[in-house]
């Protein structure tokens, strides 16, 4: 055995442990060591690592971020993210790191590696993780000397490359990137971020041709061009032009030239196989390995990463590298001596210059029987394809929108069954219930996520004798949380009942305690002149019995029907409506003052701040409806808080008109077409506190950029085609949108010409909704149930001749409005604001 006098520590530990030497300290070398340590390799081996870059190992994937750094900022060890393992990590794990030492030869007979510093290091197991390097195509002007690039020419592969480039580009104006693959585009984006005009030169028409086919590439190209990158495709560079020793431009093979002061060469990578070649290991494109990741020539030498060629494949992305390192560690440590690597199916997800790209498997159909689904929305820069063979996903490409990447990757990896309607792979169509038949779901599938009810629970309920959907819902409380699972609950129960879909007449009742649907109920109430909840129960409920779950709905209905004559029985109200605040989980309440259109003032903010301080409000939070929420107010302090605020109620607690979210419209926004802020304020001031079957959230956007998200509101208005003065635009009125438990894009009810008309149609729609929607039926269910054509007919074209009545009844409600906070400054009932849990510690909500 060769002695290593300069490393007595190694010799010492070598007496008890086998010696593991790793050549290469990039991501794959480090990963292999981590995997070995994770399998107890630290006990078996004394580990020595050689890396010819003088750093601990770092994450090459983040190199483009280094490039995006401010110029001249140096890389230091406390960045944490870039360096996968800091030098301390090597010390902690007893690893002997020789950064900056290049191994020049392996003496396989003596089992030693020879370093360029003259060192001789013995091994029992050797791991080669030499990675790859930039490929510099032969070209006039590229090199200053045999080993030194012309000043201004860079590769983009190592930390040194990135940092040298960073230093150099200060004050430079233009760069040519040779090679439009992934690395090239990342380099281009980095340089562009430093203010350089960037030209990408690529020999084919297809950017990123390793990952993308032509159409996908086109979409990516136009996105990059939109960002200001210049593309020169189907063009080759023949020469790098220099002036007094520095880069001054490039010449293309057609003889044309382009001035630039920086050239980055990203024309591909080449595995580093020189060491293996001189040491007599079989190399082709890379070092050839068997399924155990060993060199085919030498069982003591393992190879991992970009320098390994396995079954003809050389991988350049991290996924396969992780798998290889795992197999290698299994074999080296004996954790699983029979572990085998069988190649990787590639699924990559990247951000190329800010554009999301995901790709897996094949790029295009390869056989005539392959199915190919293609979706292209070039305006938005989205392109998606899937390739299916024999019912299995074998490839997918997503550019611009990769939201389905996780689901596709799962289908790709598991080779699982695909939906019959292939387009569902790319889009969510309809509710969850559409995708899978309820009968096929496993019993432990959670159906109701709010109350934790599984399919099995519902089925058991049916077996125990429940005969209707509502009986199962009552017994399990499935669908009683946010309600978004109701459709699925219905399907599961109906399937369990034998598919007969037991018709439950109760489903059509406005409230469960009165066996009448809403129109009949209203007709009865009107005919009998019932103005109180208790009189409705007495006259219309079976045996005149009260029903707890029906009171709130009846209260809302009667208030709407009898604006003047309603007999207000406070026990018919939910606690929120009794005390005009929203109950929280610890029994305290939230207070949200009205802030119409989301517009406030310094004076108002100061007052809110004073109130929050005075009353020790535990949390002050902005709401999604552009207001301010004071949370954690005890019931007995509500009146005092309202008085101190001296602002009107925002009704953030009721089944009522809530807010109008607005954008800044024409006041300040340079794109505004209509005065959305004023219209929002006007609608909110008019409709404030109007009660209905469910809450109503509105929005007004001043242009089709739709910053107030009008398309997903109960009523959303969008200014279109306006003029400068902001009062003469048109307003598109969307109804039935939602973006909560349910997502639904609203339907266009009307496009109107004026602010006033917009107010009228909005009010008329809301009144029609109040009068016709079922209890707790949001507009996103109401609009499709009634049908858009019907709604347009009644509300816009007045086909039923009731438009004027609707307007009048809405106006009546508006005229009767009373601010509940002001009205209830004195108690309406005894003990209205008394604490409901006297002297008992509440389940405390933590104070931030």
């Amino acid at each position: 055995m060769t002695q290593t006098a300069e490393r007595p520590d190694l010799e010492q530990s070598g007496s008890t442990k086998r010696r593991l030497v790793v050549v290469g300290n990039g991501m794959s070398g480090a990963r292999a060591i981590e995997e070995i340590l994770a399998r107890g390799g630290g006990e078996q081996f004394s580990i020595t690592v050689f890396g010819d870059e003088p750093y601990g190992n770092y994450n090459r994937i983040l190199l483009s971020e280094v490039l995006a750094n401010p110029v001249g900022e140096t890389v230091d060890d406390d960045e944490g993210e870039l360096f996968l393992n800091p030098r301390a990590w090597y010390d902690e794990n007893g690893i002997d790191l020789h950064a900056g030492v290049r191994i020049v030869r392996i003496d396989r007979h003596a089992r030693v590696v020879l370093g360029d510093d003259g060192s001789v290091t013995p091994y029992d197991v050797l791991v080669l993780a030499t990675g790859s390097r930039s490929f510099f195509p032969p070209m006039e002007g590229m090199w200053k000397t045999d080993t030194e690039l012309t000043p201004g020419v860079f590769g983009f592969r190592s930390l040194d490359d990135a940092q040298a480039m960073l230093k150099y580009v200060r004050g430079k104006s233009s760069a040519v990137v040779i090679g439009g693959g992934l690395l090239g585009l990342e380099a281009a984006a980095g340089l562009q971020a430093h203010g350089l005009a960037v030209h990408v030169v690529h020999p084919t028409e297809v950017l990123m041709n390793q990952q993308l086919e032509a159409e996908a590439s086109k979409v990516l190209r136009s996105k990059l061009e939109d960002m200001g990158m210049h593309m020169h495709l189907g063009v080759k560079t023949s020469e790098i032009l220099t002036e007094s020793g520095r880069v001054s431009g490039v010449r293309f093979t057609d003889g044309s030239t382009l001035d630039c002061d920086t050239v980055v060469v990203t024309a591909g990578i080449r595995p580093n196989i020189g060491l293996a070649m001189v040491s007599g290991l079989e190399t082709q494109r890379a070092i050839v390995v068997d399924d155990r990741m060993r060199s085919v020539d030498d069982d003591a030498i393992f190879v991992v990463g970009e320098c390994a060629q396995h079954r003809g494949e050389v991988y350049g992305v991290v996924g396969p590298l992780w798998e290889q390192a795992g197999v290698l560690a299994d074999v080296v440590t004996g954790a699983n001596p029979d572990a085998e690597y069988h190649g990787s199916r590639l699924a990559t997800k990247l951000k190329v210059a800010g554009v999301d790209v995901a790709q897996m498997g094949v790029k295009t159909p390869e056989r005539s029987s392959d199915e190919f689904v293609q979706f292209s929305e070039t305006g938005r820069g989205v392109y998606q394809t899937v390739v299916i063979r024999d019912g299995t996903l074998i490839g997918a490409t997503l550019v611009g929108d990769i939201s389905k990447a996780a689901a596709l990757t799962q289908a790709f990896d598991s080779r699982s069954a695909l939906p019959e309607e292939r387009v569902k792979l790319l889009f969510d169509l309809g509710s969850a219930g559409d995708d899978t038949s309820a009968a096929d779901l496993p019993d432990d599938t959670q159906i109701c996520n709010c109350n934790g009810v599984s399919k099995g629970d519902l089925v058991a309920c049916v077996h125990d004798g429940a005969e209707t959907v509502s009986a199962c819902m009552a017994a399990t409380r499935a669908g009683k949380g946010c309600g978004s699972c109701k459709g699925l609950v219905k399907e599961v129960v109906e399937a369990a009942l034998g598919g007969e879909g037991a018709e439950d007449p109760a489903d059509s009742y406005y409230v469960p305690g009165i066996p009448l649907d809403k129109p009949t109920l209203m007709a009865e109430i009107r005919a009998r002149g019932l103005t109180s909840v208790s009189s409705v129960f007495a006259e219309l409920a079976p045996d005149g019995t009260e029903h707890v779950g029906s009171k709130m709905g009846l209260t809302a209905l009667l208030r709407m029907m009898w604006p003047d004559d309603f007999v207000d029985e406070r026990d018919g109200r939910f606690i929120n409506d009794r005390v005009h605040a929203n109950i929280q989980r610890d029994g305290t309440f939230s207070v949200v003052p009205r802030m119409s259109g989301g517009v406030t003032s310094p004076e108002q903010l100061r007052r809110i701040a004073d109130v929050a301080e005075k009353h020790d409000i535990p949390m002050v939070k902005l709401t999604g409806g552009q207001r301010i929420d004071l949370l954690g107010v005890p019931k007995e302090k509500l009146q005092e808080v309202w008085a101190d605020l001296d602002m009107p109620s925002g009704w953030a607690y009721g089944k009522s008109f809530r807010t109008v979210k607005t954008c800044v419209g024409t006041d300040f926004c340079r794109f505004g077409l209509g005065d959305s802020t004023q219209l929002g304020i006007d609608i909110e001031e008019r409709c404030k506190g109007i009660e209905g079957p469910a809450k109503m959230k509105l929005a007004v956007s001043g242009c089709p950029r739709n910053c107030a998200e009008s398309m997903v509101k109960d009523v959303g208005l969008v200014a279109v085609g306006g003029q400068e003065d902001g009062r003469h635009c048109q307003w598109q009125i969307y109804v039935g949108g939602a973006a909560g438990a349910t997502i639904r894009k609203g339907d266009v009810l009307a496009t109107v010409d004026s602010h006033e008309e917009a107010m009228t149609i909005t009010g008329r729609f809301l009144q029609y909704y109040r009068e016709n929607a079922n209890w707790l039926e949001r507009t996103y269910d109401f609009v499709p149930r009634m049908g858009l054509d019907h709604l347009i007919g009644v509300i816009v074209d007045d086909t039923e001749g009731i438009a004027a009545e609707l307007d009048a009844r809405m106006q009546e409600a508006v005229d009767r409005y009373v601010d509940p906070w002001a009205a209830d400054q004195t108690e309406s009932t005894p003990g209205q604001f008394h604490d409901a849990l006297p002297l008992v510690p509440l389940p405390q909500v933590p104070v931030r």
Binding site: S534, R578, I583, R585, H834, P838, V840
Partner: protein, 103 residues
């Protein structure tokens, strides 16, 4: 706790159809006065997540917790919606005054 009795003042502190909370000894008690008649007392704290039962909507049979809508029988505190039951006490009117007995 059993045997404790408290006279809590006028019955009309509890509005018709609503509930109010009182302390009887150390026990928080919610007293209900349904429109259909009678007086009922339950431990004031929902066994599910600690909700304030006195703030709940009621009918002649049950109170519904305002936090998660679990329903408890006014007569015996049993839960009809799958949560644990809650202790039920005796409430009565004596000379216009509300009287609650524990146990």
């Amino acid at each position: 706790m059993s045997g404790v009795e408290a006279r809590l003042g006028p019955v009309d502190q509890v509005p018709l159809g609503e509930g109010r909370a009182f302390l009887v000894g150390d026990e928080p008690v919610a007293v209900f006065r349904p429109r259909g008649g009678g007086l009922y007392a339950l431990r004031a704290i929902c066994p599910h997540r600690g909700g304030p039962l006195a703030d709940g909507l009621t009918d002649d049979e049950v109170v519904m917790c305002p936090l998660h809508n679990h329903q408890f029988s006014l007569a015996d505190g049993s839960c009809g919606t799958g949560a644990d039951g809650v202790a039920a006490y005796t409430a009565s009117e004596e000379d216009g005054e509300l009287v609650v007995r524990l146990g």
